[in-house]
Every structure is written in structure tokens, then in C-alpha cells.
């Protein structure tokens, strides 16, 4: 079991929260990237990572968590998980159009590896008063 502490910035109302976890092996070599979920650009970026399976898994979990946080169908191509460089954490980049559609002024995502699985938590913030 993994525990994590996440201090969020006060002031901005939370509009939604979502979480997802998947086993990395389900995105392993020999499993073609889902074009329904990953754009060609994102798939190309993730395929070039040192651990592509973990990259695809993390991105998928982020998109699922975002969908759950939004509470409505979203276009998974309108958001991408961008890996961080040199050990830095990655980030979930959401297109302005999608952010407006789901009513989010800011989207925060945290991802981590838990054994053989990736976990993603996404929180949507509204405008700070």
C-alpha cells in the first residue's frame, strides 16, 4: 500500500477530482497504442521514452482520472501527459478548449509508480475568488 501527502494551494475551489490506476504490463511491448486514446504525436513521444510502457500507462491513467474528475465525456486527444526531464515530474497538459469545456481554470495531476502499477490523481480547480 502506498500513502502520499499532497498539499494543495488554498483559495481556488475544487471543481472535481479523479483517480485511476493500471498495471504497466498492459501497455507493454507488443501492445499497439490505442489511437482512440493517444494522438500520433503523443504516442510518438511516449514510444521514445526509456520506459515506453510506463509512459503510456501513466498517460492513460491521467486521461482516465481527468475524465472522472470532469464527470463528462472528454476528447482524450485534447490532453497529453508530458514527461518531465532529468527525473523531474511530468505534467498533464490540457488544451484551452478542453479546460473551458470542463470548467477548469487549472488542472493539477500527480502520478506515481506503485509496484507494477501506475497511479494518477487529477484535481480540477475553478477560478480563485
Amino acid at each position: 500500500m502506498t500513502s502520499s501527502t499532497w498539499i494543495s494551494e488554498p483559495g481556488a475551489p475544487i471543481r472535481g477530482a479523479g483517480i485511476d490506476a493500471e498495471r504497466v504490463a498492459r501497455f507493454g511491448a507488443g501492445v499497439p497504442p490505442l489511437t482512440l486514446v493517444f494522438s500520433a504525436r503523443e504516442a510518438g513521444r511516449l514510444a521514445s521514452l526509456p520506459d515506453p510502457a510506463e509512459g503510456f500507462c501513466t498517460s492513460f491513467c491521467c486521461k482516465e482520472a481527468l475524465f472522472k474528475a470532469a464527470g463528462m465525456p472528454i476528447d482524450p486527444h485534447a490532453c497529453e501527459w508530458v514527461p518531465g526531464g532529468d527525473g523531474a515530474a511530468g505534467s498533464l497538459v490540457v488544451s484551452p478548449a478542453l479546460a473551458a469545456e470542463i470548467g477548469a481554470a487549472r488542472v493539477e495531476a500527480r502520478t506515481w509508480r506503485d509496484g507494477d502499477a501506475c497511479v494518477a490523481v487529477v484535481i480540477l480547480y475553478g477560478e480563485a475568488p
Binding site: 475524465f67 472528454i74 482524450p76
Partner: protein, 102 residues
Amino acid sequence: MPDIRPEVAQEIRDMVFDFFAAECDKDRGELSESTNIIQDLEGDSLMFLSLLERVRKRYGIGVELKTLARHLMKKPASTLGQVVELSVAIVRHGDDIVNVDL
């Protein structure tokens, strides 16, 4: 909208059943139209998406995931029979599926 030939509908049904039998390590004979994907097969969204991807590629359908999700909110697909019905509808209607009253 053009109708689906019976043999194509059967091919889609076989694809759905074969897929879940393989993914869930079940004998094809154990599955039926009423088999619940989550309760009986421990299926999940990733599995469902993988199947839809296969249907899209097999029949050259360009329907988007957001469109499918909107349809599923109106008409959920919990059993294998419902997944077959959805898959046939995808092949028949493509992106217009969100406007179809199944």
C-alpha cells in the same frame, strides 16, 4: 443508413466473444449474451477500449471516443450482448451513433 449483412453481424459477435474469452481467460462456451463484463469477467475500461479499437480498425470506422462515451451515457453496455449491439451500431452508424436511438 446501410444495413449490416447478417454475416457481418455474426463476425462482429464472434469478434466480441473471442476477445473477451481471450482477455479474461475464459472458455468461449462459458460466455453468453447476458454475461456481465464487470461482475462476471472483471472487465474494465481499458479492455473495452481495446475491443472498440479493434472494431474501428477492422471496419475502417472513424468514430471518436468522446462520441462513444456520450452514447454509452445514454445506453450503457454492461453485458456481452449489449457490447455486441453497440459494436454493430458503431459499424452501421459511425459518428452518427450519438444521434441514434437504439
